[in-house]
Amino acid sequence: MTEDAEGWRRLDARMLLVHPLETLIRFLPALLALVVFRAGSEDNDRWELYAVPLIVAFGVLRWVTTRYRIADGQIELRRGLFTKQTTTARLDKVRTIDLTARVYHRVLGLAKVEISTAGGQHDRLVLDSLGVDAGRRLRAELLHRLDPAVTGLPAPTGAPVAVDDVPDDAPPPVDDEVLVRLDPSWIRYAPLTVTGLASAAAIVGFASQGLSRFSQERSVFRDGASFVSRLAWWVDVLLLLGVVSLLAVGAYVLTFWGFRLTRNRLGTLHTRRGLLTNRETSIDAARVRGVRLDEPLGLRLAGASRLKVVTSGLLREQGGSDWLCPPAPAGVVTPLALRIRADETAVSGPLTPHGPAARRRRLTRAVVPALLVAALLVVARLLWDWHGSLLVLVPLLLVGAVALGRDRYRALGHAVTPDHLVTRHGSLDRQRVVLGRDGIIGWKVEQSFFQRRVGVATLVATTAAGAQHYDVVDLPVEMAYAVLAQVSPDLIAEFA
């Protein structure tokens, strides 16, 4: 790693190749549109080529002006030519580190390093890009605080940095404990999650847009459409299910291929995943505040679930940095959760139900909207003469709503253990959150008008980690304060 006298380091010079490529990809739709447009005109002036030197110059400028260094217990990132911008973060505030390598990064042996620090989405440093080795070394430096000036401790003995310095396909070194490794048979769960279906829908949308833009000759589609419309309706449904499932499987493979969760001897969790884009996330053990077990309806019926981590300073929960286990059999996920939070009662023990008022509220909230829709259908039949067969939906709706309400009540529950607060809710999207009591930094007791009338409250534990707040829904009021008193006795002693 090249450093100057003051310890400043640069990005990897190979990023000069990545930058124009990324710009090209970003403007690909515009370029394609240009090509299509030009095909019909006589104009031969390739004026878009003038942009190329500009893009290259911009990349060079970025490389020249971006520097970072680790000094005095801080990481500093300096950018910009005209407006010099320096971002500084204390090393002991570093929470998680993401290494992302898209296909073109991987070809060049690069990775984008994103460092997140305490307090919100904006506090992050992005180094785009470093060599993979340099990135992993930096990660080890930051997360393991190898700088004795910061920790006040001697650097770990042995080969401290080498733990992370392994080639992609090598097995993890002995002192890295492998917690979970993707079993290819888990791919069967892909079509059962909303995430899988959503990605399938996104792919369909993107593809159809792209196709309609560039196909002058649409006879293929016409033929296809007429073929599909000639089939029986149930064949159509099966066809749709098949296509969607295939796409969901594709998305699953792209995201989770080679998924591996390891824990090193300092307790840091590392995940690595992705078929084309490689993603490595390292989560400081001291920041882990709990886990979230997701059991959406589809997975639950198949006896599967998935696991996420509740931690502070994660870069993007949406991007999936918080996955500890992709959809997998419950027999794998539950023991895994136990290895991360060793509290059997919290992870898999029975929960205290919330009682009849909560049950009534679940049913009301499911049935009333269904009744409204049913009433609308009846009105539509009477006034606008809608087809009578639609009325078949009415009993189906009501039965479905009752089932949903009952299932939502079954999910509702909480528990307090010596180390954790556990809350579970939801039917279609059921989740059980095991939150460390030391991670709770405040409380709310919320009551709407209707909740006050039936004597229930929603107890909200606020935290710096994960979703920032975790709710125990519709507890009887006394129970809510009992939980509060049990988890934070010192805090509420003054107000009792």
Partner: protein, 172 residues
């Protein structure tokens, strides 16, 4: 171990926070409600001027509807809020109660406080009031007390800042 193993007497509920906010907060909330009503009136006037239809009946119906609802809001909301709004700060914690239709109580230990802000909107300045916002490391956890007398607010900010400074660590 059983969940809820610590015996807590059934019916044990927290008492209310000790202090009410300033009585002038009533006036502040009423003025704020009137601002909303004024905006609705402005919308109604614009509609009246823009609409070309010969019939003015819809105008009267809509106008009457929001006038009744708005008047009820301007009369009832401030009273209701004032009855609910309470706060208390001890050397260890801050405890508030707020809302009207939706009510909530918030408790935050002072050890977890990151910033303390004093804000004064135009109406609050007019009435010599201020609101104090106490932020913790959780994005879900800011505690705000509206409608404090300005001297009380200053005193509270000083006390909270002293407590927050005394605490070390990153409060997560």
């Amino acid at each position: 171990m059983e969940p809820l193993d610590v015996p807590v007497a059934p019916g044990a509920v927290l008492r209310e926070p000790a202090h009410r906010v300033s009585r002038r907060a009533l006036l502040m909330w009423r003025l704020q409600a009137l601002v909303v009503l004024a905006l609705l009136l402005a919308g109604q006037v614009v509609w009246w001027l823009v609409d070309d239809a010969p019939s003015r009946t819809p105008h009267w119906v809509v106008g009457a509807a929001w006038l009744v609802a708005g008047a009820a809001y301007a009369v009832a909301m401030p009273q209701w809020r004032y009855r609910v709004h309470r706060w208390e700060a001890t050397p260890r914690a801050i405890y508030t109660q707020s809302g009207w239709l939706w009510q909530e109580r918030r408790i935050a230990p002072l050890g977890r406080v990151q910033t303390v802000d004093l804000e004064r909107g135009p109406v609050a300045q007019l009435l010599g009031l201020a609101s104090v916002t106490i932020t913790t490391a959780s994005a879900a956890g800011p505690v705000t007390i509206h409608g404090l007398d300005l001297p009380v607010a200053h005193e509270l900010v000083d006390a909270l800042t002293a407590a927050a400074v005394a605490e070390t660590g990153d409060a997560t």
